[in-house]
Every structure is written in C-alpha cells, then in structure tokens.
Point group: C2
Chain length 457, copies 2
C-alpha cells in the first residue's frame, strides 16, 4: 500500500520511457508492481506491458486477476498479446484461457499455435481439466529424466533445463521410462550427495506420493500438508506423469478454500474477488439470494406462531421466552455444524463416521441442554404471574433441553448428509442451521408448553 | 485409515523384533506410521521408539502431537529420551519443550546439554520466542555461507551440509557477513547456472523478503502466499540472520489458523486437537462457556419482552413476527461479520478502512433491508385481524428495514473494533452478533410497532 502511494502516480509518467520503467521493475518484486497496477486503468496497464520486454511483462501479467488479464490483452495488438502469452507459465496461461468464451479461446489458441505450437498444444491439453482439480493446478514444466542416466549427467541436464527456464522446479527430478511412466523421484540434494557415477534408477525413491488429475484441489492440499511436500506429481491411471503441482499454488488453494468455506458458512455465495474489489450490486445479489431463501424459510415461524395463537392468548408469558429458546437452539446447532464442517475440511471426520458423531453430539447436546435448561427454568420460574411458575419453568427449561439436544444433532449430521450427497457441506451455513432450528424450536416449545401447562396447571 | 486397520494389531507383535519393525518403517511414510501409533497405548509407543534407531525414532516422534510426546518420553529411560531429542529437528524439539513445566524444562535441558551442548543452547534460545511468532516457527538449521565464497566452493559446502543433515533446505543459500548479517540470498539453481568461479557476493539477490522473530505467524503466512516463497529468513533489528521458516510449517499455520477462525466464528473456544481427539468434557466446557455467555445475553430478550407485554396484550399479532424479524437481523449481521473477519484475515481490509466499510455496508444493508422489508410487509398485511393490516404491515416491514441495516453495520464494524483493540476479530462470532442483534431487534420492533399502531390505527 505504501509503495502504491509512493509510486502510483509516477508509473503513468514513466510509460513513455521504457528504460526508466524497466528499472522500476528491477527494483521491486513483480507482486508489488502488480499491486500498483490495480490503481491504473486498463489502457495504462496495456501500454506498460507493451513497453516491457515480454518475459518481464508476462511475469507481471500472471499476477493480475484473470478477468482483468482478458480486458488488458484485448487492448493490445494481437502480436504483443501472443508474445506475452508465450512467456507466461503454462498453469497461469491456462487460467487466462479459462476466462475466455469458447470461440475466443479457439481463435487465440490458433494465433498462439502460429508462434509457439508447443505452448498451444500444452494449453489445449491443460484446458481439458477442471480448474479446481489437480489437472487444473498442474504445470507440465518439470524435470523428467530417464532411469539409466548417471548422477553427474542428471545434474548437467538440470543445469540445461534451468538455463532454458523449462522447469518450475529443478529440486525434484522425476525418473520416467517405459513410455513416460513415473518410476521414482530423486531430489537434487540426493543427486549432489551420491556417488556421481550412480544411475538414477539406483538412487531414486520409488515410494512417491502422487495424485490423479481429476483429484479435487482440496485433496492435493491435504496430501501436501500431511506429507510436507513441496511438489506433487500428477499421474494418470497408467502411472504416466502428466505434470506437477507446486506448493505455491497449494498455499493459494488452502487460503481460497478457507475463504470460500467461511463465506458459505456465513451465508454468503462465495465472492470471486476481495472485499473491496467486489461491486455493491454483486454483494446485494450474493447476500440477498441467501437472505431471501432464509427469509422464506423463516416465514414458517410466523405460521407456527399463528397456529398456536390460542396458546399464547391463554398464557402470554410463554411469548416472553421465544427469542431465548430459539436462539439457544441456533447457537448450539451452529457450534456443531462449524465443528463438523471444519473437521471434514481438514480430513478429521468423514460422512461414514456419522454414528460416532451422533453418539458424541447426543452426549454433548444433552449436557449443554441440561446446563442451559436449568438456567432457563430459573428465569421462567420468576416470570410466572398468570400461570403456575413451576409449570412455566418446566415448559421453558424442558424445551431448552430438548431443542439444544436436537439442534446439536441436526447441526452435526446435516453437513455430513450434504457432503454425502456430493455437495459442499459448508452450504449448511450457520444462518441455515439457525433457521431450521428456529422453526423446530417453536414446534418443540409449543408442544412442551401445552403438555406442561395441562399436566401441572 | 486403511493402513492402520491393516497393520495396527501387528505393530504390537513386532515390538520384540527390532529388525522386522525397522522394515515396516522403511516401507511406509513416517506420517502413516505415526497414524498407526494413535491406536496404541503410550507404553507400546515408548517400546517401539526405544527399539528403533534414534534418528528413525525421532522422525516418528516429531509427527506425534506434543502433549503425547511428553507422555511417551516420560516412560522412556532418560538416556533414550535424550537420544531422541538430540535427533529431532530443532523447531519440533522446541514445540516439545514448550509443553513442559518450567522445572521439567530446566532439568531436561541440563540432561540434553550433557549429550549435545549445541542442541541445548539452540533450544533454550528458540524457547524465548512466542510459539505463534516467526521466532517460534523458525529453525536455526539453514545454509549460510560467506560472500567471498566462489560458486563451486559453495556447492561443495552445501554437499557437506546435506551430508551432515544440518540444514532443513539447501536450495536457498543465505549469504551472511559482518557478524552474521544477512547480505543476500542465492538459490541452488542460480549456483548451478552461474560461472563456477563467481563469488556469492556477485550473484546473490540483495532484495530479500524477511520477517522479524516477533512477527505473528499469520503475517509470515501472508508473505509466503503473496511472494510465493518456500523459505523466509528471520532477521533481528540489526539484520542478523536468526533462522528460517520453511513452507511446510507455513502450510500448517494457514490450516490451523483457518480452523481456529472457523471455530471462533461458530462460537466455540478453539480446540487443541482434532474433532475425535477432543474429549467430551473438553467439548462441553469449550462450547458451554460460550453458550452460557450468549444465554446470559439472550436473557435480555425476555426482559425486553416483559417490558412490552402490554403492547403484545393489546395486539397479539405482533408476537407472530418476532422470530422472523430478529432472525433477519441475525442473518444479515452474520454475513457482514463473516465477510469482514475473513477480509482482515487475508489482508484485504484493515481496521483503518472502517469508514469505507461503513459506507458500503450502509448501502448494502439498506438494499437488503428494503427487499426483505417488502416481503415482510406483504406477509404481515395478510395477518392483520384485530389490528389494521396496513399498520401491522408497516410495523413489521419498517422494523425489518431498520434492523437489517443496523445489523449489517454492527456486523461489519464490531470485528474491526475488536481487531483494533488487539483481540482476534473472529471472537465476534456469528452467534455473538446474532445475540446482540436479537436484543436490538426487539427494541427496534417494539418502538416501530408502537409508533405505527398509534399513527395508523
């Protein structure tokens, strides 16, 4: 931010002076420069990219949100745009193409093929995978060497790969043979340590953690976290190496998924961009959609109340505790759903554990219900005027025990059911659980109250 | 899990047969073996660790939760325990010592010093930092070389370091001089590429992203994500290199912080362990504490209702819409707080942006309020029997507009205020916001209703 205020206005002035511009870019991290560009218009950004050498420009372009990349490249001459695309990392290039319409994709791929056939083919292949899968995250630029190569030859080969910039990392060497099948992995560390005459086949580790290209990105992240991996190879069913996923992309996945889950759980359709980068209309729509659904569900509370109007008419004191009772259920249910959703996200729990969860939550819910129910009994006992205090206390206390226990169970099992149905469990958001529990809470309260009043009054 | 079921029972049998045990450990990733140990008692784990060579045992011990490490090491002979501690990675060893009481710490450090003075000193130094800071995450085992060293000499030095296992990563070389000051960094990739006669001083990058040892671990994670770093050097005020934080620890931080935030936002005191690893009593306490606080706050709703009993007595229809109105406020407020808490967690928003947030949320809240208010008006209009339908509609619709707007503002500003006070904003959990808004919602409703009924009736 400070850097932006410092340099933001100057950056536009520098457009006409490519040499000075280049110096600025040498002095700052491309990520910081990309942040500066946020404050400039698309036209200005396009001019700056055109003035830079294409590899520097591509490095910058990769750090701009994909939607904006499209807007900016549309302004540039096709030739300049293709130059930049050629220099981009394959996985970032694919993210860019994903933003395009099918016909635009095809036209631009044809242009790209004319300059760099390999990049075009690579991009086309990567475009076949779901952007949120291992295939969508992987890059085909890795170091793969044959098993019979000697250690010193491998080091020379890595030097050459690094010189050409053809591998995202040279610290892991993938040993492939028999038609690109992944046979094992050797770290550069091991290569340096070993007798230089040894063959890769002798020093490689054959136990390699791999993922399938169709694996969800969350699964990839879980594996990296579990086994402390910096790179994961992606292999197909025949164990043919297709690409590698690097840790920097995994870190982004972990952060993005946590943001998405948090927003879902807060009852918001996940945002594409950051808080301030999201337009007001988009906010109203992404929040309003859920609020309207929840409101429609909550209308049931009015109906339940209407049906039990006579009960309230007879004993108005019952109305006093309605907010207290339904919110106790909502709070307890929110806790359970939050705990279970997160436990499933980090791999601690799975839908098949539902019976273990049920037993635990039943015990916890009862304990919590009894504590809160006791407090509720005390408060209601003091409020009884037109009605027997004991009956009112029992109605309120008993309802709280029942609704807290019920909510705890619903809050924990509903996310598991939703996960089981193949949906994101985080959609059983806190407001959603609260709404379900509100309606249920009223039904429980009126039933318990009628029973208690008839029995003890 | 499958591996555990397969091997779990056999592992105990193998205790008496160190050779067979060693083979099992060679065939599986230590992380998977550590998972197997979860199902064994502490005594069994201790015997297995004692039977293994200490470097293999230490690798396993590092992957067991710290509290259990303490329980297991207490069973072992001091000599065996110290051997394992010596072989542990320094950052993991510190995590272990953090679990001990002060006097146990001192006693064990003295024992450790007798076997490995360097490890003891190192541990004592690292123990001085907050476990959730960069200092608490860093390891002192990195590759540091002097600036006048030539590229080929540096590669030889890295070979030696790797052979001794004295560096967590040899892929980044830190160039230090003038009393351990960090001068720059050279990647092993660059070392391999450059003319082997060049000095490190000539090829190093001087623009290095660093952190201070007191920086919060979340800040370290943000930097790694932003600049795609795999290692971050930790330097003191004199720019002296103290250690490095590696990406595997950063990934764990990102995941743990997201879990902690999710739990706080769901109204649960964050758990130390996973869902199933947490005891029932701990759950009741960690959930009950918040539920009781919320319940006490919610008791205010009963008081507000009591004070307005005469209004309800006059127009019972008003009671029907109480759950609907307070939950609309709760839902809208939860959305805002979730969005802002996450935006602050990922660095998109800061407390000083509060006025920008206020303007946005005011606009969004009003828009959402008008949509829901309109729906509420329609529903209430249909319910008016003893009361003028128009007056009831205005009371309900107007209250919803007011409470949704208010909740949106409170939900967004409260987390910023809490952050500003130096607390974790995630404590302004969804249930907390909902409770505040419930009380407020009732106050607004009764005021608007009395006004509407008096004016239109």
């Amino acid at each position: 931010m400070r850097l932006a205020t410092l340099l933001g206005p100057d950056l536009k002035v520098l457009e006409g002076d490519p040499e000075a511009l280049r110096e600025v870019f040498e002095d700052f991290h491309p990520e910081d420069v990309a942040e500066l560009l946020e404050d400039l218009g698309n036209e200005d950004v396009a001019r700056i990219l055109a003035a830079l050498p294409s590899e520097v420009g591509a490095d910058l372009l990769e750090r701009i949100p994909s939607e904006r990349q499209v807007e900016v490249l549309e302004i540039l001459e096709t030739e300049d745009a293709v130059d930049l695309l050629t220099e981009m990392d394959p996985d970032d290039r694919v993210d860019f193409f994903t933003e395009l319409e099918a016909d635009e994709q095809k036209a631009l791929l044809d242009e790209l093929a004319r300059t760099d056939q390999e990049a075009a083919t690579e991009t086309q292949e990567l475009l076949g995978w779901d952007p949120e899968s291992a295939g969508g995250l992987m890059t085909p630029e890795y170091a793969a060497l044959p098993p019979e190569m000697k250690a010193w030859e491998a080091i020379e080969a890595l030097r050459e790969l690094a010189r050409q910039g053809e591998a995202e990392t040279i610290y892991q060497v993938y040993v492939v043979g028999y038609g690109d099948k992944l046979l094992g992995v050797v770290s550069l560390r091991d290569l340096l340590l070993t007798d230089q005459g040894h063959e890769l086949a002798d020093i490689m580790t054959e136990k390699v953690v791999t993922v399938a290209p169709t694996d969800d990105q969350e699964e990839v992240a879980r594996l990296c976290a579990r086994y402390d991996l910096n790179v994961v190879p992606v292999v197909d069913e025949q164990h043919v190496l297709l690409g590698v996923v690097t840790i920097d992309d995994v870190v982004d996945v972990v952060i993005d998924e946590a943001t998405e889950d948090a927003q879902l759980q807060g009852g918001v359709v996940p945002l594409e961009d950051g808080y301030f980068a999201t337009g007001l209309l988009e906010f109203v729509w992404k929040r309003g959609a859920w609020l309207i659904v929840l409101f429609l569900g909550q209308l049931l509370t009015a109906t339940v109340m209407e049906r039990n109007q006579s009960v309230l008419q007879g004993t108005l004191e019952l109305a006093l505790f309605i907010p207290l009772i339904i919110s106790s259920g909502g709070n307890a249910g929110s806790q359970s759903s939050t705990l279970i959703i997160r436990a499933m996200a980090v791999g601690d729990a799975q839908p098949k554990d539902w019976h273990r969860v049920l037993v635990r939550e039943l015990a916890i819910g009862l304990a919590l219900g009894l504590i809160l129910g006791g407090m509720g009994f005390g408060r209601a006992y003091m409020a009884g005027e037109t009605v027997d205090p004991l009956a009112l206390g029992i109605a309120v206390g008993g309802s709280i025990v029942a609704i807290v226990t019920l909510s705890t169970i619903i809050g924990s099992l509903l996310p598991m059911l939703i996960q089981r149905l193949g949906l994101d469990p985080a959609v059983s958001s806190t407001p959603f659980i609260a709404s379900v529990v509100d309606v249920l809470g009223l039904l429980v309260y009126f039933s318990v109250a009628v029973f208690a009043l008839q029995t003890f009054f």
